[in-house]
């Protein structure tokens, strides 16, 4: 059962098409990782799901309703998006940022109701931000700032959470915490879709892999089913040995060499 569904999507601008004829239905209540080489269209697809980019052809539906029929607010109550680059607005505290996550739910002036406050406190507690609550965003470290943004996304309380390359700028301990959090969210019933660079991380932490290449979806399924030496050579142009990872039992790729044809 899927909440989100994409059918025959074409996304691009002008004469360039980045995504072509793509159909995809991410499984609900699971962590799906979108992976693929640079320029394959994974971020583009994610942004289309967030309605940041509009497809030139094809259809996107949420619970059977077409995207086009939903207002910005309605969509925002169902889908939350964490951008790759997190701007640092001046003079905004952590608490204020997390509170902005309630915007799709609260009034015109932005007043927080009791339930809004509850969501905000819960999100901050979960991400251990209580100590930093009144600090300005600009004064925090990169990892702390991302936690604040994550808390905002959590406070939004949307059943679908999209994350655009969230691990890129983090050091390893923060990466692991983030990936664990994604698993927890999925366990609570949320649909989590994230773009990841690291194949092994994707295999270890995601329930479902969607592999993209040249704007098309080339493989779609559980990591154990999808990952093979042949796939890695075809899509990522590397020669690997696939083994079973000793801690979690998921597939792991050991790189032998690059097979990219040199011009």
């Amino acid at each position: 059962m899927s909440i989100l569904q994409a059918r025959e999507l074409d996304i691009g601008y002008g004469a360039t098409r980045i995504v072509q004829g793509l159909s995809f239905a991410p499984p609900a209540g699971k962590v799906t990782a979108l992976i693929g080489p640079n320029g394959c269209g994974k971020s583009t697809l994610l942004k289309a799901f967030a309605r940041i980019l509009k497809p030139t052809q094809g259809e996107l539906t949420l619970d059977g309703q077409a995207y086009a029929s939903l207002s910005a607010r309605q969509l925002a109550r169902h889908i939350a998006f964490l951008p790759q680059v997190l701007p640092v607005p001046e003079g905004v505290s952590v608490r204020q940022l997390v509170a902005y996550g309630r915007s799709p739910h609260n009034s015109l002036w932005g007043r927080l109701s009791g339930s809004d406050q509850a969501h905000v406190s819960q999100a901050m507690q979960r991400l251990e931000l209580d100590v930093l609550a009144d600090r300005a965003l600009a004064d925090l470290s990169g990892g702390q700032r991302q936690r604040a943004w994550l808390a905002m996304v959590l406070a939004q309380n949307a059943p679908v959470v999209l994350l655009d390359e969230p691990t890129t700028y983090l050091d390893i301990s923060h990466q692991v915490e983030l990936l664990d959090l994604m698993g927890e969210l999925a366990a609570e019933g949320k649909t989590v879709i994230t773009v990841l660079h690291d194949i092994n991380q994707a295999c270890r932490y995601a329930d479902h892999l969607a592999v993209m290449h040249g704007g098309k979806l080339v493989a779609d399924g559980a990591p154990a089913e999808v990952v093979s030496a042949e796939l890695m050579r075809r899509v990522f142009e590397v020669q690997v040995q696939v083994m079973q990872e000793p801690v979690a039992g998921t597939p792991m790729c050991l790189v032998e060499k690059s097979t990219r044809a040199k011009a």
Binding site: K47, A50, R51, I52, S71, A72, R73, L75, A76, R77, I79, A80, F81, L82, P83, V85, L86, P87, P89, E90, G91, V92, S93, Q96, L97, Y100, G101, S103, P104, L108, W109, G110, D134, A136, W149, Q156
Partner: protein
Amino acid sequence: MIRPRLRLWLLLGLLLLATLVSLSAGTLWLTPHTVFERLLAHDVLDFEVWNHRLPRSLIAILAGAAFGLAGAIVQGVIRNPLASPEILGVTQGAGLALTVAIISWPHLPIAWLPLVACLGGAGGALLLALYNTGVSFSGVRFALSGVAIAVTLSSVTEFLILSHPLDINTALLALTGSLWSRNWHHVALVLPFLVLIPVGLCLAKPLNLIALGDEAAHSLGTALSRTRWSAMACAVLLTSLGVGVVGPIGFIGLVAPHMARRLVGGHHQYLLPAAMLIGALLLVLADTLGRTLIAPSEIPAGVLTAVIGAPYFLWLLARFRG
């Protein structure tokens, strides 16, 4: 972030104090006690307080607040701290329209002037929008093109003024902006601003979200394009209204939002009111100084706002390095 609400109240108190000083100061200095007496007495023949200083101070407060609010909105939408309505050609467009009106129809009733100014300001903003369509949005190019449009429009204004001999104070008003001879008739002209305040303040929540970046704002449910248009329209109206009454006074829309941000932070529910209060404070201050420094002659308020505002802007620029 220490108690922004408290700071807002402090700003209000400061503004009231400045107004009191403004009412007392001038060619003839009055004690605050006398000022209160005269305010309460409401003697129609009382020149100093009722007919001269009070309307002038009221106009300074309202116009200054309009400029401050417009500046905060513009900076919120464009997300560039160097942006402001005068840098976008709105002020100069309004000034040019006013000059054309004053020269072509010298007997135009003053009630028409704000309308003329709004048309001019909207024209300037439209030029800017047209210039920036079809290219990917860049904050610096936007500001620069605004500068170019502003310079063009103000050159035309200067040309018109220099080739049509006008009463010098009117000319100065049209070129620099001043509160000279603003009286109760002009106060009526600024009143529409009181309608625009709630509209502007409704922009607080979307502006908060826009500050988080386009993607996040969109994902949190902001209708981006519609919000930007209505915000810019509001800012243009506010600025043009102000210019329509006091001429092209600059730097308030640039400096007030920055000062406000340093005082109360970036949460627009506090930032917008603070920008209004600081804008009002700056203009009251500029006008009071202008009236008293070389009394009985006057320095136009626009000159003083530039003298106060430009160094502050330069200091900002220095801080904003990189």
